[in-house]
Amino acid sequence: MTSETTTESPEAADVPPSGPAPEKKRVPQGHGRLLTRRDRFTLALMAGVPTILHVALVWVTALASIALAFTTWDGIGFDAIKWVGLDNFTQLFSDNPQFWPAVEHNIIWFVALILIPTPMGLFLALQLDKNIRFSRVYQTAYFLPVVVSLAVTGFVWQLVYNPDTGLINSIIGANTPGHYIDWIGDPDLNLWAVLVAASWRHTGYMMILYLAGLKGVDPSLREASALDGANEWQTFKNVVFPTLRPTNTVVLVVTIIEALRAFDLVFVFNKGAQGTELLSILITNNIIGESSRIGYGSAIAVVLLVISLAVIIPYLIATFRKERRA
């Protein structure tokens, strides 16, 4: 495309103007003179509308949310907004019994997703990449949980974990008085129970990402390492895994995002009761509903935003630096 326009431009400058817009000729070098008024209008429309939408729906709302974090507001009438400074944050950090557990659970969520389903997904992807029989069937089976809505996943798993009629307790006979295993309610158990469900889904997601990454690994690399006498593990460790570097970055970012926005599964599972508090659920509980605490909820949202930025900014810096070097 660019070569086409550059070949066109000297031509346009040489040929005397046959049509209107002679002032265009006076415009010195640059892109401007290549664009008719119509082009500029189209460009403005195509760049402007998304910009306006982006600013209005992302930046304005984010900044409004940050501003609201320093106020108290019940959501009824704008004159009810009262400036309270840092009160929301001090209350959040010192008096809210659910806040620190929620932060902890978000971190556990991330660590668990990185430690268990991610290697599992990589393992499955490696197996499926070998073109074994029925590979498509396995691929579909493992990927299916990702396609299913998380709300449905949560609903299905809470049926599995139901203390009286659930699958697990019925099989191991833990649904009689005195022997209950309360998978959903016990604060020592429920986070892990729900993480099993989350991992079940995340494995399929990671598998697809790695499978795509593996398709991009040059087969001649494997061949070369085989010729050098490396065994399968050595090939993977020294040749395949290093070439998966871009995929690993994507996997890391996706997993961080998954951990920070974890919500629907837990909300359906037990509404974020003790043991499964998450930042996203605290925000929802405080903002949604009647006589909502919008200021307080926004303060929690700001904390979540700061955590997200702390994770994403170093990643972006690293990426941009690499691009500049390239």
Partner: protein
């Protein structure tokens, strides 16, 4: 070249005329039902004969019952009721923005603090004029429930239901249990049931609100109605020794509750009463919905939570009441008032109760002859009460109960020994919320 749908040669301008004509026909079409509705009554002409109503009764049974009430109203007055039904939970979650936007003239809501909150925010209109007509239909306790903090009426109650301890008559008869009337008798009965291999008290707190019901019962039996009101309004301190005593009593009863309750819904807990595995269950009369077998339902009975403090006896009944309110600036004020007046009659309540037998009429004038045994008992329990409470989340700020009390009570249930630190944490958060 152009040909209109009427098959005549056409130009641009006459096409516009056709469009105009179509628009006019649409307006006329919309007008026809209004005109025909006008025919029935002789009241002030020119007044639009439709009143809009926002409803949260999305379940099939109540929805149909309400539709019958509105149909009867239309038949009587000629005013059409335009109902806008939303999912029950969605309605509650959106109530703030709904009432601030362009709400329907009349909307369904709950009595108690949750009604007074919107009245105080000027999101509802006072309806003292309605109450001059319907006041005689209701007992004092209901009248008290329908007033805002400013002493004006804002609410028309339709039906109510009590919370109580439910049990199976056949089980009590077979095992020779007596209905307990004092705390000591209740504890003794629990012990006996446990010895007999039963679950003394069925319990499920997955939804986090059932525990509030238990707290309420022990609290107003022990500390009385006035303390309940003060505590819920944020005036009394949660660190008060009186509150501590409530939790001490609760902790005494806790070993007799069905275990594994944190992951159990109230429906599943009710099933243990249906299957006679549990002896008692503290819940509202809606527990009867789980008794689908007629013989089981006939076997179901209940008694008021036993006396703890002789100063208060069993004088308070927790009876959540549902009804209607008038929005801040109804489009059709006159018709909305008429509708509210009608909804406050025993006639309207009876139409509702015919369809839904798990509740009782709020009015003391309603005909009780068609009541089931459970309804009769519920009715006499409510009408005999000195004071009526609504429920923790209806008597207090919803933001406080949902973000502090629900997790707080669950925490107590998991660790009854940590009451002191829990209560000071609740008190700190309460002060912050009630100060805003």
């Amino acid at each position: 070249m152009h040909r209109s749908s009427f098959g005549q040669p056409n130009t641009g301008s006459s096409r516009r005329a056709v469009l105009r004509g179509l628009g006019g026909a649409a307006v006329l079409g919309a007008g026809i039902p209004l005109l025909s509705a006008c025919g029935g009554s002789s009241s002030s002409a020119g007044d639009s004969k439709t009143v809009t109503l926002g409803s949260n009764s999305s379940d099939a049974v109540p929805k149909k019952a309400f539709a019958e009430i509105y149909a009867a109203f239309t038949k009587k007055t000629g005013t059409k009721v335009d109902v806008n039904t939303k999912d029950h939970n969605t309605f509650q979650e959106q109530i703030n923005s709904y009432l601030q936007g362009t709400p329907d003239d009349v909307f369904t809501w709950f009595a108690g603090y949750r009604m007074q909150f919107f009245a105080a925010k000027n999101l509802a209109s006072p309806i003292d004029d309605v109450w001059t007509k319907i006041g005689g239909n209701f007992p004092d306790a209901m009248q008290k429930l329908s007033k805002g903090a400013d002493g004006k009426y804002y609410f028309v109650p339709l039906y109510t239901y009590p919370w109580a301890l439910f049990y199976r008559k056949s089980v009590f008869q077979e095992k020779g249990y007596q209905v307990p009337t004092t705390w000591d008798q209740l504890v003794a009965l629990c012990k006996q049931m446990k010895k007999d291999g039963m679950v003394p008290i069925a319990f499920g707190d997955k939804d986090a609100w059932p525990a509030m019901g238990t707290f309420d019962q022990i609290n107003f039996r022990l500390n009385g109605y006035d303390f309940h009101v003060e505590l819920m309004a944020g005036k009394a301190a949660w660190t008060d020794a009186k509150v501590k005593a409530v939790f001490d009593h609760w902790a005494e009863l806790l070993p007799y509750h069905q275990d594994g309750f944190m992951g159990r819904t109230w429906q599943d807990a009710a099933q243990t009463l249906v299957s006679k595995k549990a002896g008692m269950y503290l819940l509202g009369t809606f527990v009867a919905q789980q008794f689908t077998n007629k013989a089981d339902l006939d076997d179901l009975d209940f008694f008021a939570f036993p006396e703890i403090n002789s100063a208060y006896g069993q004088d308070t009944v927790e009876a959540p009441t549902d009804g209607f309110m008038l929005s801040k600036s109804p489009k059709n004020h006159a018709a909305a008032v008429k509708l509210l007046e009608y909804l406050g009659t025993p006639e309207a309540e009876q139409i509702y109760l015919k369809a839904d037998s798990s509740v009782v009429a709020a009015s003391s004038k309603a005909d009780t002859s068609s009541y089931t045994a459970l309804q009769k008992k519920a009715y006499s329990m409510i009408s005999g009460a000195k004071s009526l409470t609504q429920f923790m989340d209806r008597d207090s700020r919803p933001d406080f109960t949902s973000t502090v009390m629900q997790p707080g009570l669950q925490k107590f249930l998991q660790n009854p020994k940590g009451v002191d630190s829990l209560l000071s944490s609740i008190e700190r958060q309460k002060k912050q919320i009630f100060a805003s």
